[in-house]
């Protein structure tokens, strides 16, 4: 009797390891079936952030909500760990990454991008009164967000010798504030929105240290059929002027060439 129970128990454990069910559906179909579009973001003003009522707002958040509307589903915005964004997509935890994401070639190997809708650059941020010059960044202690475009710039463009990779762009700014790093390389969009204000009043953007012209795009799973719908949506929103209005509201530079 005991042996039988033991055998059954072993079998059950083994079976649960190999349980599988079919998830090979089209993305558009599964989003419509679920009744919701799950968008992965981080808190990243002015693209995605929470307003005073705790509701999602921002340039990307508003667009994402409108896109969900055109699909006829609810928009669910969830905070993810930026390091895990590819895993979040590929494991079907989220449908889109819509978070002022730089469409780098490296990332493009793992996921698909929508048509680019905005432009971005990386800038160096230092303490006010710092003697560091743009040429000196290479040899300074540089703080960047791990896995961000800033990190790529620090490694490949600046060829920094002392790069400190932290968890978030704000952590990079905190490093500079605390004096543990000399300079942070972050998105210009982010830098313009926070540097010189509030707790970051003591920081400034370093003159002449602007790197690369990057483009922002929405991230999708490789081969996702949502891309066609999304591209059409973005172009339509540009054509009818909605996006231009949003860009003014949130101070974002549109990638007008791509959207035409």
């Amino acid at each position: 009797m005991k042996k039988i129970i033991s055998l059954i128990l072993t079998a059950v454990i083994l079976c649960t390891l190999f349980i599988s069910c079919d998830t090979a559906k089209s993305d558009v179909q599964s989003v419509k079936d679920a009744g919701k579009l799950v968008v992965g973001v981080t808190v990243y003003p002015p693209m995605d952030y929470l307003d005073d009522n705790g509701e999602w707002t921002g340039f990307d958040a508003e667009l994402a909500q409108q896109f969900a509307e055109t699909l006829g589903v609810n928009c669910q915005i969830v905070i993810i760990k930026w390091d895990n964004k590819v895993a979040e997509l590929n494991s079907n935890q989220i449908d889109l990454i819509w978070n002022g994401m730089t469409a780098s070639d490296e990332l493009g190997e793992k996921i698909d991008f929508s048509v680019s809708y905005a432009k971005n650059a990386q800038v160096a941020v230092v303490k006010k009164g710092s003697t560091l010059t743009a040429d000196g960044v290479k040899d300074a202690k540089i703080a960047v967000e791990n896995g961000s475009a800033g990190a790529t710039v620090a490694e490949e463009t600046v060829k920094g010798t002392n790069i400190n990779k932290v968890g978030a762009m704000v952590d990079a700014l905190n490093e500079v504030l605390a004096g543990t790093s000399d300079v942070a390389i972050i998105d210009i969009t982010m830098a313009q929105s926070v540097v010189g204000k509030g707790v970051y009043a003591d920081l400034e953007i370093l003159d002449g240290a602007s790197y690369g012209d990057e483009i922002f795009a929405v991230g999708l799973r490789k081969g996702s059929d949502l891309k066609a719908e999304l591209d059409a949506f973005l172009k339509a929103k540009y054509a009818d002027g909605t996006m231009t209005a949003l860009a003014e509201k949130y101070n974002v530079g549109l990638n007008t060439d791509a959207l035409k």
Binding site: K2, K3, S6, L7, L9, T10, I13, I19, S20, C21, T23, A24, T42, V43, P45, Y49, V78, I79, I80, K81, N84, A87, E88, N90, S91, N92, Q93, G167, A168, M169, V170, D171, L173, N174, L177, V194, G198, V199, Y200
Partner: protein, 230 residues
């Protein structure tokens, strides 16, 4: 002042999530650990070897990795996606998100493995004479375990268990790897969004107070079982 209220209310919410994760993990892991313990102690070799392997993997790899694997791997391997609660009760659905459930599963399995080894040590430390005395008095094996051995085991495992349980409340912070909005996650959001570092230390205070309460509780429990020597 307003900022203070905002920090405390957000950290409070995060702490509730951390406490929920803590309590539910214990509720699942304590009995599951007993099952694992019996499996590793089973006389049926394939079962005991297999469960020893599982315990080895669970204790031998970082919990953070297990949380990550349990949340992402099923989707990446196209097995299944963690189900979303859909009761319509917003607080419930948001709290018990796919992320929370995956973290809970990972924590429960991991802690069950640790508990199972503590149980095993406790059970094996009970002298053979206790089982034999039970047998010659005509007790069944089940009665011997529940009426004689169990309380002695409990007395012996309280110190190591309280250690693990105190570690658990702090380990809940690892759930933020998969963006469960627990205490540290909320505190770090203040750092990310507002550049505030002190909420992180306030969060530390939350843990500290709770661990203090746990220490008092376990001290009382130990005292309660002080009346006999085992």
């Amino acid at each position: 002042m307003e900022l203070f209220i905002e920090v405390f209310s957000k950290l409070g919410n995060g702490f509730i999530i951390a406490l929920l994760l803590f309590a539910l993990t214990l509720i699942l892991a304590i009995p599951l650990g007993l099952v694992m313990c019996f499996c590793t102690m089973s006389k049926f070799k394939p079962l005991s070897l297999f469960s020893k392997l599982i315990v080895w993997v669970l204790r031998g790899t970082p919990l953070m990795l297990q949380v990550f694997a349990i949340f992402y791997l099923p989707g990446l391997l196209k097995l299944f996606v963690w189900p979303q609660m859909n009761t319509g009760w917003v607080w419930f659905d948001n709290t018990f998100s796919t992320r929370f459930i995956a973290a809970l599963v990972a924590f429960a399995i991991n802690y069950a493995a640790y508990f199972s080894e503590i149980y095993r040590g406790g059970i094996e430390s009970i002298p053979k004479g206790q089982y034999e005395a039970g047998q010659v008095l005509g007790l069944t094996k089940k009665q011997v375990f529940f009426k004689i051995v169990l309380l002695q085991v409990i007395k012996r495992i309280i110190p190591p268990m309280s250690n693990e349980i105190i570690t658990l409340i702090k380990d809940t912070a690892l759930a933020n790897t998969i963006a469960v909005y627990e205490l540290i996650f909320e505190a770090k959001e203040f750092m990310t969004v507002d550049g505030l570092i002190w909420p992180l230390f306030v969060a530390g205070g939350f843990y500290l107070v709770f661990v203090g309460l746990l220490t008092i509780l376990f001290g009382r429990l130990e005292k309660k079982l002080d009346y006999f020597k085992a």
